[in-house]
């Protein structure tokens, strides 16, 4: 029997924690009460992308989304909507920005400027159901490629689409496929890079968890195009849900002969296996990834030879990122010309970004290339919370840099971000406000690189460590002007002489913060002062006369350094203060300020 209605329950990680199981159980109990449990399907979908809203239930085909908190709300939804087809207006999700109850999901203000290609199925289908993927034209692109196109034609379409690699480098995908195709060998491999390690990026996780079949389909298309019969997905063990769903997807696809021998009755055969990454960032670099699959330490090799000539076990190998692959089926189905209508001249299509940091709406967004950063931060992201001012946007993770307020109107694409001294990277976008210290941010990224450097080449292993030491010195107030010079010399040396992308780009966070926020470095060095009040040793607090005497700071101070009576201006004893900042956070009126050393002593 067919179900007349489907209830989608958000099973994204954040909702899963908000006790989705309980909600599903309650729904079932209610449905049984009305004797309609057989007419209604309850499906756990992947993340709806509205995590801050809490547990969400979608009713299809009506496309109504509810936010449920209590059992009585579930009772109401079942009784009114499921049973009597009346939409429960008061439980409908509110738009985070317009604060209006909107009729349709796609009318959400957050979604207005978005265009979902990569995330087309995420949150819409049950990722565990191959039937639902097929119902949304899944595996049609593979059929079309195998039946209607030669492998040359497939490559031609991908080339014409101007799709560029979403794993960070932005290399033209069609061209890469062509190299692999032109390498002569009986055995070739397709590898999907799902080692997503850039701090702040989780778009690949969303696709793997929400739409695993799209990756399998794309890899098979790639296999057909380049002449490979075996694919590997290298996925982080830290993504257990993704691993589970991929395993299931591969099994289901095999059962329907959408993977395996003689696909769609042709003589093309393709298999996919998983390989797990085990917590080494550098394994995201393609040659290191290949070494890791082969069972070695994941250390990068010198290129050339590129994997397209000599990759996995010395055979021609095409490595693409998850998001890159996710675009392929749509491009095959809708054509290169259609894809070129989206995005900019040199960067077609969309890009998924992970918005994080000091921004109201965090989460994944998919926007056409060419959207401005301002639109992303203020329109889609809803701006900076707590009426703070934006200081910078960090893109490209530990390989990228900072973009400042005055450049916010730049349309985003691969080339513009590079011109601004940052880079697209894998799509992490972290917004910083006035409370973030840029020296500290640079130090933070360097700490990451120092730890993740595999140690094979000296510039990266030693150079990043020395840079990190200098940054530490500066943030402790012991830095000198020569240190800043040394930092710059080291930065260009590490960038120029490192073996792989990790070291080559590691200095970027330092160089870009030095370029845009030199005065902050100078304040640390010359005035022994951290303007943002982050670097502990360089922060002194004062309570100014706007204090309303609420006593919150004094109650929150762990060392009793603040004294004062209710309704009277409080006083802070810096000789006792341990600079934890708890008082500043507790103050409801912003009376606690950070000042240069020396001024603060009461």
């Amino acid at each position: 029997m067919f179900e007349r209605m489907q209830l989608l329950v958000c099973g994204g990680e954040s909702c899963e924690q908000k006790q989705i199981g309980a909600i599903k159980d309650a729904l079932l109990v209610e449905l049984k009460k009305h004797d309609c449990e057989n007419e209604i399907a309850i499906t756990q979908s992947s993340c709806f992308g509205l995590c801050e809203k809490g547990a969400i239930v979608g009713v299809f085909p009506d496309e109504v989304y509810y936010q449920c908190k209590t059992k009585s709300e579930i009772v109401m939804i079942v009784e009114k909507h499921i049973k009597n087809n009346q939409i429960v207006e008061e439980l409908r999700i509110k738009d985070p920005i317009l604060h209006k109850r909107l009729k349709e999901h796609s009318n959400f203000h957050v979604f207005n400027k978005q265009n979902r290609i990569v995330l087309r199925n995420c949150g819409i289908i049950n990722p565990l159901s191959i039937e639902e993927y097929i119902a949304r034209d899944g595996y049609f692109a593979l059929a079309k490629a195998l039946k209607e196109y030669t492998s040359e034609e497939v490559i031609e379409i991908v080339k014409k689409s101007k799709l560029r690699g979403r794993g960070g480098g932005g290399f033209p995908t069609g061209l890469k496929w062509e190299y692999a195709k032109n390498s002569q060998s009986d055995i070739k491999y397709v590898v999907c890079n799902a080692d997503e390690g850039d701090p702040g990026a989780f778009m690949d996780r969303a696709v793997l968890e929400g739409d695993p079949h799209s990756i399998l389909e794309a890899m098979a298309i790639c296999g057909y195009a380049i002449g490979a019969q075996q694919g590997y997905i290298y996925v982080r063990a830290e993504y257990p849900v993704a691993v589970e769903r991929l395993e299931r997807a591969i099994e289901d696809a095999k059962n329907l002969n959408l993977l395996g021998d003689n696909l769609f009755g042709t003589d093309f055969s393709f298999e996919i296996e998983l390989r797990l990454g085990s917590g080494a960032f550098v394994c995201g670099e393609e040659t290191a990834l290949i070494a890791s699959i082969e069972g070695f330490r994941g250390m990068p090799k010198l290129k050339p030879p590129f994997p397209a000539e000599s990759g996995l076990w010395g055979k021609p190998t095409n490595v693409n990122n998850v998001e890159t692959f996710a675009n392929i089926p749509v491009i095959i189905l809708k054509g290169a010309d259609w894809f070129n209508t989206i995005g900019t001249e040199k960067s077609s299509g969309t890009k998924v970004f992970a918005l994080g940091g000091k921004i109201k709406n965090t989460g994944l967004i998919e926007i056409p290339m060419g959207t401005t950063l301002r639109d992303v931060v203020f329109d889609i992201g809803g701006g900076i919370p707590n009426r703070k001012k934006i200081k910078a946007i960090q893109t490209g993770g530990p390989s990228g840099g900072c973009i400042i307020e005055k450049d916010l109107d730049t349309p985003i694409d691969f080339d513009t971000l590079t011109d601004l001294g940052s880079m697209m990277g894998s799509g992490g976008m972290i917004v910083m406000d006035e409370d973030n210290c840029m020296v500290d941010v640079a130090r933070f990224y360097l700490e990451f690189t120092v730890e993740e450097s595999c140690g094979k080449c000296t510039p990266c292993r030693e150079g990043t460590k020395r840079m990190y030491d200098i940054l530490n010195k500066i943030s402790e107030g012991k830095g000198t002007l020569e240190d800043i010079d040394h930092l710059e010399v080291l930065a260009s040396m590490v960038a120029e002489t490192s073996l792989c992308g990790l070291g080559q780009t590691a200095p970027n966070p330092v160089l870009s913060t030095l370029k845009h926020f030199r005065d902050e470095y100078l304040a640390h060095v010359n005035d022994h002062y951290c303007p943002a009040g982050v670097c502990r040793e360089l922060t002194n607090y004062i309570i100014d006369d706007t204090c309303v005497g609420c006593t919150k700071c004094a109650t929150n101070c762990p060392v009793g350094a603040i004294i004062g009576w209710p309704k009277a201006i409080h006083k802070l004893d810096m000789s006792l203060c341990i600079r934890c900042g708890a008082c500043k956070q507790a103050c409801p009126v912003g009376s606690i300020k950070t000042v240069k050393g020396g001024e603060a002593h009461v």
Binding site: G200, E238, S278, R297, G356, T362, F448
Partner: protein, 153 residues
């Protein structure tokens, strides 16, 4: 399951090494690979013990020292850091009375740091036995730890 049964699940070639190491690690209550196991693996795969060691020590998810029953990994990356109203690592260190890298006396928990775990929209976050816990607060951490303690009792 015995180690030998794990080995037999995988083809005897070097490409299985990492998978085997991960599975043995997960299987064992004290989550580490012993010297004997290194020898068994090297024999089964036909690779040198030094090679097994080199791989084993390269990846942060693996260990050559016994660890706790549950492995807590605190995300130390920038979104968790920027949004961190309180310090998750320090909070855990205090609650467990140990520092990162150590195992609690009762052998229940090992505290580690991890690179980004892709939960940035719900920062701060941590993994316990690779299970993600997000939007952490002090209370929430206390409840989570308590739930692990209860199950084990």
């Amino acid at each position: 399951m015995q180690i030998i049964d794990v080995l037999k699940k995988y083809p005897a070639s070097q490409t299985s090494l990492l998978e085997i190491l991960l599975e043995i690690d997960r299987l064992k209550d004290n989550h580490y690979i012993s010297k004997e196991e290194v020898h068994m693996i090297s024999e089964y795969l036909g690779v040198r013990t030094s090679h097994v060691y080199s791989v084993l020590t390269f990846y942060t998810l693996l260990s050559t020292e016994p660890r706790g029953k549950h492995i807590i990994q605190v995300c130390k990356d920038i979104p968790c850091y920027v949004n961190d109203a309180f310090d998750v690592r320090k909070t855990l260190e205090k609650m467990l009375n140990m520092s990162v890298g150590q195992t609690s006396r009762d052998g229940l928990f090992t505290l580690e740091e991890t690179a980004c775990i892709g939960c940035c929209d719900e920062a701060p976050a941590m993994l316990i036995d690779l299970e993600p816990y997000t939007n952490l607060t002090r209370d929430k951490i206390e409840r989570i730890l308590a739930s692990y303690r209860e199950v084990t009792l």
